[in-house]
């Protein structure tokens, strides 16, 4: 197992659009949490999964909310159990208000190589409307702190198609983001997640920018970011050369990953496991020495091999059915059908050849990537 993900389920509030599993938690709960993923790791290894991480990702929630001490203990808990010697990329997610000098200093000291910060946009009114706990200037200051702490490789996450952000407003966000010289930018189209505050507001009559405006905002982002030298290496991700997020790449390319913490998901061989989104139950299980509640399925080798292929098309490098089947032989019987479909889609401008036997999405294809995925199932 080369890819390790740790979910930190705490935030200092709830953003309107967010459907990730995160809770506020008490200081005591957050402090106690730092020990748990390490303990879970012991259980996983006892199951016979050998873990030698090459990429590590602390996501959330807001990992930085654990503070310098909490983060140190979380990392130490892991490193006591598995060697980080091979780790080439270690990412930690932060938010502007929690990216303090102390936290950033601790991260740098620990050996973290990458910091990723959720910013969403650089417009105070919209940030407030989204329930973010910071303004545009705070975000810019945080980015400068990240740089100053020694992280040349840092990323900023934005959301396209936000209400209240017209074309010039979005252009301003993009320009000010680029001025911070991030190595990586993620741009997600706004989606109304069931159960989120946004979903409730939409139900009550909030009107959001339409599909066309959303797609236009994404195009605007692509133009601005690529012009600044960030390549779109995945549908929602842009990076300077050599700065693509290796952890996420591994998972799009179909590699295994181990997720620790509540709501974390793992892909281990044919097995897929997602822990229940319940921090208390997770803590109770781990401290009492049992497995955290989770949903687990074992796929057939064919389904497993298919899943590992389907999302590779989201990458600019595309996917090759033939070489995929070399790595995952159970995909063998699908190769011809996949090639036929990808070819058919190429004739309709959805995919294009990206080398012999390899296809990727076109600009139009990126707008309908899920439908392409369905074609391959």
């Amino acid at each position: 197992m080369k890819n390790l993900y740790i979910h930190v389920p705490y935030c200092d509030g709830k953003c309107l659009y967010c459907a990730f599993y995160s809770i506020r938690g008490t200081t005591a709960e957050r402090d106690a949490y730092a020990e748990l993923p390490g303990q879970e790791l012991t259980r996983v290894r006892a199951e016979g999964v050998s873990v030698t991480p090459e990429t590590v990702y602390f996501g959330g929630g807001t990992p930085s909310l654990l503070g310098p001490e909490g983060l140190r203990r979380l990392a130490a808990g892991l490193r006591r159990r598995v060697s980080f010697e091979r780790v080439v990329e270690w990412t930690v997610e932060v938010t502007p208000p929690t990216a303090s000098d102390a936290v950033l200093g601790a991260l740098f000291e620990m050996g973290v190589t990458r910091v990723s910060m959720g910013v969403q946009c650089l417009n105070d009114r919209t940030l407030r409307a989204l329930g973010r706990r910071h303004g545009a200037a705070d975000a810019e200051a945080a980015a400068r702190r990240i740089r100053a702490a020694g992280f040349a490789n840092f990323g900023i996450d934005l959301i396209a198609g936000l209400p209240g952000l017209d074309e010039p407003g979005w252009a301003e966000t993009l320009a000010r983001t680029l001025a911070l010289e991030p190595a990586h930018v993620s741009v997600y189209g706004l989606s109304v997640e069931p159960g989120s505050g946004l979903a409730r507001q939409v139900e009550r009559g909030l009107s959001l920018p339409g599909e066309e405006e959303g797609l236009a905002a994404l195009q605007q982002a692509e133009a601005a970011l690529t012009a600044a030298g960030l390549a779109r290496y995945e549908i929602s991700n842009y990076a300077r050369p050599g700065c693509a997020c290796l952890h996420n790449l591994a998972c799009w390319r179909g590699e295994d990953y181990l997720g620790l913490g509540p709501a974390a998901a793992s892909r281990i061989g044919l097995m897929r496991r997602t822990h229940a989104a319940d921090a208390a139950a997770y803590r109770a299980a781990i401290t009492s020495g049992s497995n955290p509640p989770s949903e687990e399925v074992t796929l057939s080798p064919a389904d497993d091999a298919t899943e590992r292929f389907v999302f590779s098309l989201r990458l600019a490098e595309g996917g090759s059915p033939r070489s995929h089947a070399e790595r995952w032989p159970a995909a063998g019987p699908n190769v011809a059908a996949w090639e036929r479909r990808l070819d058919g889609l190429a004739r309709n401008g959805i995919t294009e050849k990206a080398g012999p036997g390899r296809w990727r999405l076109t600009a139009r294809g990126r707008e309908v990537a899920d439908a392409v995925g369905r074609e391959l199932l």
Binding site: N3, Y5, H7, Y57, G59, S186, Y188, G189, L190, S191, E211, E212, G214, L215, I235, S236, H247, N248, C251, W252, Y257, G259, A263, A264, A265, R267, R272, T274, V297, E307, V310, F311, R314, R341, G344, L345, R347, N348, G349, I350, R364, G365, R366, E367, V368, A369, D370, A371, V372, G373, R374, L377
Partner: protein, 604 residues
């Protein structure tokens, strides 16, 4: 009980749908103390709901009854049912061939309708004595005088002694039975000693005994042990059993001249037993066929394909089973570029086609797609040969064709006169020609017109019904062929010809029909990732086009590790829905699109 030929009466009951044929049959069976007909129908006709829904009267097995007349004589009545729909005209006429008379039931409230006319003419042509009966006189709306006049004027049947009955209450039904005795002749025959000639008027398939022909013995007699043969094809069989319907099959030692019954031999293939054929004995038999036999040829063809190709075997099985009791439809395997392996099926008419397709769906639980129905065109080639073409995909190169002839029908339409204008427009619109217009009564007219069969294949009947608020009734018969400017139209989806939608149309109708099909398809095919042009073409010319717009967007913005499996599940579930669609290249077409095309789409 022994009956002489003198004391036998063979007859049928004919009527327009809902005029009371079934009810009257029930009353007759009751009065003759025969088994309750409802029971009989349940036993023998479980699968016929569909026919009922489509407005065909239910066809029962023949039934024998004993009737004691007022003068004390005891008669054997054989009531032979007829299928009562135009598609089965030939079978109707052969059933009539087994009778000496017909009870013509006319609803005294509705008056003469199209099937009244069609059936009455068939009976007259078959030389039957007709007993006209006005039914439903218990209803306040009954207009005996007017309807009697219609029967006399339109059908030329004397109403001097009208039988005014209510099949429902039983009023005067006994008079009908007496009329059968007094007004119908006993069977005409050369006697029991003459060489055997028996008319096959129906058949059923029995899993154990094979095909069982129903026969009317005209001359001579048949008994178990005889070796008989069919004159049309020389097929021989040894008779194992003969019997009558009383009301279920009851074996007898011998079936005598004038009687109606069945014979069981060792025939396995339903195609060997042809309705209208003559049965005779191999030894000392007759070589003289009974008149009226015709080889029935399917008139309407269409391809039937399983939606999923692994159901091919199931479809074959279903067709074979249906064919056992309905030798009138034909099928053979064919393949389509678009649809894969399936069957080309021939039917007697439109309704016959619908019934067979619907039975496959309902009784065999099959998802099937049917291609555009086609008639049989005669292609006169430059080299002097003539080819019959029932499948547009078989059309040879046009430069080799001198001219094409298409089948024509004569239609009889009875309608309230207020709708004449609109109906005439419909007929013209379908390349028809009006022939005659006669008034039936103060409010209704009978129209006769000639129409290309091709033009009534799709939605003619529905349109007629909707124009006339349901009041018009129609009947038709094929009358021959006529030279016509017929062309083959192709339909392209996303630039590819889909042979399943190819059809033959008149040149003048091509644009209209092409637009109709393109529109129907564009409405039924769900949006894809890309725009799909739907085009109709004649040769290289595009004559109609609709575009199916692409859906705008379908993408998960943020997809990270934890989400992949969940997302995969969602996609997989969504993908299930596509499996029921037929895939043509990169385009998926739902079954509903095939149906919409056949329905002609929405009239624009």
């Amino acid at each position: 009980m022994e009956h002489s030929i003198e004391n036998t009466r063979n007859f049928c009951i004919i009527a327009h749908i809902d005029h009371g044929k079934t009810t009257l049959s029930d009353r007759i069976l009751e009065l003759t103390h025969t088994i309750e007909s409802r029971l009989m129908r349940e036993q023998t006709l479980d699968a016929m709901d569909l026919e009922r829904e489509r407005g065909i009267t239910i066809k029962c097995h023949p039934v024998s009854m004993h009737y004691t007349a007022r003068d004390g004589r005891v008669f054997r009545f054989n009531l032979i049912d007829t299928p009562g729909h135009v598609d089965f005209t030939y079978e109707v006429s052969r059933s009539m061939g087994a009778c000496e008379g017909a009870i013509l039931v006319v609803d005294a409230c509705q008056g003469v309708e199209a099937q009244t006319v069609a059936n009455a003419y068939l009976a007259i042509d078959a030389g039957l004595e007709i007993i006209p009966v006005l039914n439903k006189v218990d209803l306040p709306g009954a207009d005996v005088e007017e309807v009697s006049k219609q029967v006399e004027d339109v059908l030329g049947i004397s109403m001097e002694h009208p039988l005014l009955i209510s099949a429902k209450t039983g009023l005067n039904v006994d008079e009908v039975l007496e009329a059968v005795v007094t007004r119908l002749h006993p069977p005409k025959t050369r006697g029991n000693d003459a060489p055997l000639r028996a008319l096959v008027f129906d058949s059923v398939f029995d899993a154990f005994r094979g095909v069982i022909p129903y026969v009317r013995v005209v001359d001579g007699c048949i008994k178990a042990g005889d070796t008989v043969c069919f004159l049309s094809n020389g097929v021989q069989t040894q008779v194992r059993e003969v019997g009558v319907f009383s009301p279920t099959q009851k074996p007898l030692a011998v079936l005598e001249a004038g009687q109606v019954g069945y014979l069981a031999g060792t025939i396995r293939d339903p195609r060997d037993v042809k309705i209208g054929d003559t049965v005779t004995t191999v030894k000392d038999g007759s070589s003289e066929a009974l008149p009226g036999y015709k080889e029935v040829r399917p008139m309407v063809f269409s391809g039937l394909y399983p939606v999923s190709s692994d159901e091919y075997g199931k479809v074959r099985n279903g067709l074979e089973k249906l064919h056992l009791n309905d030798a009138a439809f034909s099928f053979h395997s064919e393949s389509s570029v678009a649809l894969g392996f399936g069957f080309r099926c021939g039917f007697l008419g439109l309704l016959h086609m619908e019934v067979v397709q619907e039975r496959l769906r309902r009784e065999f639980d099959l998802d099937i797609i049917s291609t555009h129905p086609a008639v049989v065109y005669k292609l006169f080639m430059n080299d002097g040969t003539v080819a019959d073409i029932d499948n547009p995909t078989r059309m040879p190169d046009v430069t080799r064709i001198d001219h094409i002839e298409e089948p024509i029908i004569k239609a009889t339409i009875i309608t309230p006169s207020v709708y004449i204008g609109e109906i005439m427009r419909l007929v013209m619109d379908r390349r028809g020609e009006m022939r005659t217009t006669e008034s039936l009564d103060a409010k209704r007219v009978i129209l006769t017109c000639m129409l290309p069969l091709n033009e009534i294949l799709i939605d003619f009947h529905d349109t007629l019904k909707s124009i006339s608020r349901g009041y018009a009734s129609m009947d038709y018969e094929p009358i021959g062929y006529q030279t016509s400017d017929i062309v083959k139209m192709d339909i392209l989806l996303n630039g590819e010809v889909i042979d399943a939608f190819s059809c033959m149309v008149h040149k003048d109708k091509a644009v209209y029909r092409g637009r109709q099909i393109c529109k129907a398809l564009s409405e039924e095919i769900p949006p894809h990732m890309f725009k799909i042009p739907v085009q109709a073409t004649l040769g290289r010319n595009i004559i109609a086009r609709e575009d199916i717009r692409a859906f705008r967007k379908d993408v998960t913005a943020k997809l990270y590790g934890g989400d992949v499996t969940r997302k995969q599940k969602v996609l997989k579930k969504q993908a299930e829905g596509k499996k029921r669609m037929k895939e043509f290249g990169t385009v998926r077409v739902p079954q509903s699109a095939f149906i919409a095309v056949l329905k002609g789409g929405n009239e624009s």
